[in-house]
Symmetry: C2
Subunit: 395 residues, 2 copies
Amino acid sequence: MTYAISERMLSMQPSAIREILKMTADPSLISFAAGNPAQEAFPVDEVAQITQDIMNESPIAALQYSLSEGYPLLREELKRFLQDRYSIGSENDDLIVVSGAQQVMDFACKVLCNEGDTIITEAPTFVGALNTFRSYQVNIVGVDMDEDGINIEKLEHALRTQKNVRMIYLIPTFQNPTGRTMSLAKRQACYELAKKYNVPILEDNPYGETRFSGEALPDIKSLDDQGLVIYAGTFSKILSPGLRVGFVMAPHEIISKMVVAKQCNDVHTSILSQMICHRFMTEYDFYAHLDRLKVVYGKKSGIMLEQLDRLLAGKLLYTRPEGGLFVWGELPEGVDMLKFVSTLIEHKLAVVPGNAFMINSADKTQAFRMNFSTPSDEQLVRGVEIMAEVVAKVF
Amino acid sequence: MTYAISERMLSMQPSAIREILKMTADPSLISFAAGNPAQEAFPVDEVAQITQDIMNESPIAALQYSLSEGYPLLREELKRFLQDRYSIGSENDDLIVVSGAQQVMDFACKVLCNEGDTIITEAPTFVGALNTFRSYQVNIVGVDMDEDGINIEKLEHALRTQKNVRMIYLIPTFQNPTGRTMSLAKRQACYELAKKYNVPILEDNPYGETRFSGEALPDIKSLDDQGLVIYAGTFSKILSPGLRVGFVMAPHEIISKMVVAKQCNDVHTSILSQMICHRFMTEYDFYAHLDRLKVVYGKKSGIMLEQLDRLLAGKLLYTRPEGGLFVWGELPEGVDMLKFVSTLIEHKLAVVPGNAFMINSADKTQAFRMNFSTPSDEQLVRGVEIMAEVVAKVF
């Protein structure tokens, strides 16, 4: 039979990155295309001990239905953590646990946007968020970025001229894909614009804890005394992405609607996963683990950047992130980026072409994304060598 | 600030059952209002061993990102299981893992329905599915049920007269809330109507494995040689609801769109949860466990029904389910059902008023739902006693 697919899903395609990742099943190919946290950052022994303890001490609670809002002890611990470490959270806010930060993108859109409403994003931005927004048939308006984050004049222009703007989606810290971090002045300016135009900010902060150099900046949510910021966090980069545990802090009114969305979508997040996160935060030295992460990511990014400096300085531009998982490369004008990327693949190196992160993937860009957390140290060294070999041939 | 909540979520409320369940935090109250599987049915020792084995043998795989389609070994095992045990699945079908069967309701709606399209359901039906459908602003048309399932004439009338019918949502086996099972003749008739009107059936089968008496009937999906049936299954009632693992088998074209919906919603289901399910199916005697379930549920339903027969026969009507978790009671005309339910609560017994399961909760019904899987044996006995005491006072 023929199926009547809904309008919202008719033109939706699997993410371009997935298609590239399929090729990376080839073991001879080095992949800078993924976005996986470094596996050496996983606290394997601790999680093994924790799961054993949970199954000994409270197996029924770990297996039975639980609350849509999340495991109460984890919610409390996360509120305390965000307040203590980042001065995030007020009387006006509540926090629920969701199945990874991706689900926050979904629920924020579901709760705040009608079809045809506008969401403003950085351009380029996280393809997973873009796809979620597309699936709600909203109008996505991308705003260019400078080195220190979104261009404030262009953001205000968009807020002033676009109709029915319901949300400003930002990744202020170690933005995906660019690796850039928004300056404090721009964080304040974004917040002031949100206030002026009465448009909530969705602040996505998956990478904040991976900072391996430079000074941490306040999250926009920590400036929020008016209930304007929806803050999305996740255990994916600090404990494990496979457990699928994220969280969202937002004003009560928005959270109460997100709880209904949660009930309608998956009832609640795996309670075993939530109990693991809670015990890891409270029974182990969580802050020491976060410090260990910085060492892992600092080392891996260092290997990639050193090798880029040695072999490709002056040949292409690339960012020097202070955290996160990505380096953003940019080819000189005149070089065909898509052809460059496919030549890399022929030489057994995968990167993600920048257009995957554009609001309109047909827009022209010279950029591409390199991930340093997933490859082994040897693969980082060899991968940049391959790139240098291809650059020598192509440019 | 004031938030512009989307039209779809503006009128959505937390489920009425949740509100009742909040009262059941009172330890002196006996709850027949839940829908939790019996905790004595959880294979605690096996899951404890399995989690230890996983964390010893493949900790990185259990913690790293995984595929949106689900854990490949679990998908294969589920396909084999459904084919071997129920003759479900053809070349035309594929199967993916999701975060509980609730997510199938969401994705089916997301993929197949535009705003204003029609979904036909049994009336009454599962409130969780109704709320998901409502959140997509579809037109829900309820069709009355007979003792042996949905009324076929009324179903055809709805198919003939309603516009843009995109889905027929059915729980053929141990329907929630009524506990009724659709006859084979009606299963065939539903399938023929789906074919005639070219409308897919969403067959929700959370309770099939709990059958403790009578003969199993073929699932509608097992009749499906035309790619007309989307089949939703779950580990919630056979292993654990807290792990949040369900699955959907459907034609490739629908599954490929559901995979995109999955990517946009929560990327993938907890891989640790999926690995637990896979090992439980393959390393233990899964069929023996399913037999054990039948004993547990048969015993608990027997206690409730015996006590109802002893104290309330002739005073109210109630179903005699052959599986599932629920008995559906019906009060004589002239008794105020909502008042009866609140009087029960005053006497420390919670049941769910039938209108919670109606398409329009303002519709009049004399029915209410009783759950026998969650209360202890003593609570089952005492709960029905309380009901008899209230009936003696009220009628």
